[in-house]
């Protein structure tokens, strides 16, 4: 057989069938679509990057043919505004929200998936219904709640309030999502773990949690990104510039003509991506799912 003498690197090793002509055309079409999509995303992004680094750009963001590389907008951001403060605020709020959401959703998701109790179905439905009301709708309630709470516990700042609102809003939907994911994990794994000597908490921590990691990573990422993206709640709830989050802080560079500096806004927006990208890289491995394969016969 000639195959025996073929060189190693000329062997066709892919598990996919070799491409046909139609398949080839399909592939080209898909690439064209994907590329145009990439352009649609990258073009505005590149404009933003350009103006952030363009020293010839003043106050207003207009298409500007002159370009001179400079860090001046970044310098402005760090020296003339509370940018660093806003970053820290946002990281604090986003991080706390993510941790709080994960913690609570872990309990609720596991409980709803594994335990049978009175009112289980009803409360799950209620959760879903409540979820359809946007968190913003409760803004007046939050105000009253905050003023009442502050009478008794002055340490509950407006930022803490914001964290509670964000994580509270995320719990409902995420519970549902996580419950669905845990439902797909065979309960025989729980049984096996129990016989092996696990308590309920250990079953979750040692068996379910590692298997549900991809979903937990997504939930963490979502809850972390939320506070970066939200403008409304912090703008209304937070009243001192030094408490602002990035979104509400940066917006002051856009809407108030006294502090207006649009290129600095672009620069700030650019930097905002850094923590999110960092978290994404950390979670990347977890986000790749498929761990639950091979638990059972097949």
């Amino acid at each position: 057989m000639s195959g025996l003498f073929r060189k190693k690197n000329s062997l066709y090793l892919s598990d996919n069938q070799p491409l046909t002509v139609v398949g080839m055309i399909g592939l080209v079409v898909s690439y064209v679509i994907l590329l145009s999509w990439v352009v649609a995303i990258l073009w505005p992004l590149s404009q933003m990057i350009m103006s952030a680094f363009n020293g010839k750009q003043a106050q207003y963001l207009m298409s500007n043919r002159n370009f001179a590389f400079s860090w001046k907008h970044f310098q402005f951001l760090f020296s003339e505004t509370l940018y660093l403060r806003w970053v820290l605020n946002t990281l604090f709020i986003a991080g706390s929200t993510a941790i709080l959401t994960l913690l609570i959703v872990s309990f609720t998701g596991f409980a709803y998936s594994r335990f049978r109790f009175k009112g289980r179905k009803a409360s799950l439905m209620a959760i879903m219904l409540i979820q359809t009301i946007p968190a913003f709708a409760g803004i007046t309630a939050y105000f009253t709640m905050h003023s009442i709470i502050q009478n008794y516990a002055p340490w509950v700042t407006r930022q803490l309030m914001l964290i509670l609102i964000y994580s509270g809003g995320g719990i409902a939907g995420n519970t549902f999502v996580l419950k669905g994911y845990i439902d797909s994990i065979s309960t025989e794994l729980d049984d096996a773990a129990r016989i092996d000597g696990c308590s309920n908490m250990q079953v979750y921590r040692l068996i379910i949690m590692p298997i549900a990691k991809p979903m937990l990573a997504i939930i963490a990422l979502w809850s972390f990104i939320g506070p970066f993206m939200d403008y409304m709640l912090p703008a209304i709830l937070l009243n001192r510039p030094q408490d602002y989050t990035l979104a509400s802080g940066l917006f002051t560079l856009m809407n108030d003509f006294r502090t207006m500096n649009q290129p600095a806004f672009a620069a700030g927006g650019l930097l905002t991506a850094v923590p999110i990208v960092a978290l994404f890289m950390v979670l990347q491995k977890q986000l790749v799912s498929g761990l639950a394969k091979g638990a059972v016969k097949g």
Binding site: R194, I195, G197, K293
Partner: protein, 361 residues
């Protein structure tokens, strides 16, 4: 460890009926007890109750002399092999096997020795560091066994562990399991719906149907002295022939009057009380006498012949069209469509009370 069940009953939440009722059973130390029964009869339920994964609605479960009803699974000193193997997908084979010992805070050295010992017995050393998703079904099955073995439990529970393997591997693992049981001597409870597994592996069989134990005993009794018609028909392939009829002047007469049997002396004594009552006769296919040399013969047409090599399965039809199954040695000649006369081996006839289905002789 001796396992005893006393009047155990189980009713699931939200169900009208009891799934299991009045289960009384003694499984002696070092027994290999096979719980056998058709699908849905409550075998898994019973096993999970012994494991402590399902609650016991009524009755007592004893390990030795100790009542275990309320003892949590992890304190029962049991290990279980699940129908789906239930290997932890995020752990390597080694960690899967070490998990239960690690949870009990055993020293690392002991854990390692135990895992290696089990891996050697089961021949899974090569993939100790693979994930369960990267090994074959048969290998996973052995890992599941290994995970149960390392604990050296007092009671070993298995729920249809061979049901997903191919025929050859299943046969092989059957022998392996028996060998393993002989070597370890652990009291084992094994659930299956496959009568061949039960007959070949068990030191004690428990046959269940609709939540009730039909018969419990050694495999031999199941074949030669079935306790009722259900057991008679469940065990044995091809299925035992059952002929309904009644006793008339000390003779069994079938409903269609085409078959008459004069019972042997010992059977006749037991059948005395049934004079004039409905009685069913059971006879295994291989206990017909195809040459018809004995007293009570009957005529039938050979309808279909299945050649299996060492034996032939004959589907014969009586005059009124009712069918019987006969097995004859493979070298006998039978022509399809030919008339033939058959007799019975009187020693091998089972008499059942038609009303209750219970064995008479």
């Amino acid at each position: 460890m001796k396992v005893s069940l006393r009047n155990i009953g189980k009713k699931y939440e939200g169900r009208e009926e009891f799934t299991l009722k009045d289960i009384n059973l003694d499984i002696e130390d070092k027994d290999f007890c096979v719980i056998l029964g058709p699908s849905g009869c409550g075998k898994t339920t019973l096993l999970r109750m012994i494991a402590g994964l399902n609650s016991i609605t009524e009755g007592d479960l004893l390990f030795g002399e100790k009542r275990m009803n309320k003892v949590p699974s992890k304190d029962r000193d049991i290990a279980m092999v699940f129908q789906s193997y239930a290997l932890y997908p995020h752990m390597t084979v080694y960690d899967n096997m070490a998990f239960s010992l690690a949870m009990r805070k055993e020293p690392k050295k002991l854990i390692h020795d135990r895992v290696m010992e089990a891996a050697e017995v089961l021949q899974i050393q090569e993939y100790l560091y693979s994930k369960p998703s990267d090994i074959s079904g048969g290998q996973r099955q052995r890992v599941a066994l290994g995970r149960a073995m390392v604990r050296k439990p007092a009671v070993f529970l298995m729920d249809e562990p061979l049901s997903n393997l191919d025929a050859k591997l299943r046969e092989h693992m059957r022998v392996e399991l028996v060998r393993l049981h002989k070597a370890l001597g652990t009291t084992s409870i094994y659930v299956t719906h496959d009568q061949v597994e039960a007959m070949t592996m068990a030191t004690k069989i428990v046959l269940m149907n609709e939540g009730v134990i039909q018969q419990a005993g050694i495999p031999d009794d199941f074949y030669n002295r079935p306790a009722n018609i259900f057991v008679a028909r469940f065990i044995g392939s091809p299925t035992m022939n059952i002929i309904h009829g009644s006793m008339d002047k000390g003779k069994f007469v079938a409903e269609h009057k085409l078959i008459k049997i004069k019972p042997s002396e010992a059977d006749a004594k037991k059948l005395k009380d049934f004079e004039g009552k409905k009685v069913s006769v059971g006879i295994r296919p291989e206990r017909f006498d195809s040459r018809g040399e004995y007293g009570d013969t009957f005529k039938a047409i050979v309808d279909t012949v299945e050649m299996l090599g060492k034996e032939k399965i004959l589907y014969i039809k009586l005059e009124n069209g009712s069918e019987l199954v006969v097995s004859a040695p493979g070298h006998y000649e039978f022509k399809e469509g030919a008339d033939h006369s058959f007799g019975f081996d009187l020693e091998a006839i089972h008499y059942f009370d038609s009303e209750t289905g219970l064995r008479i002789n």
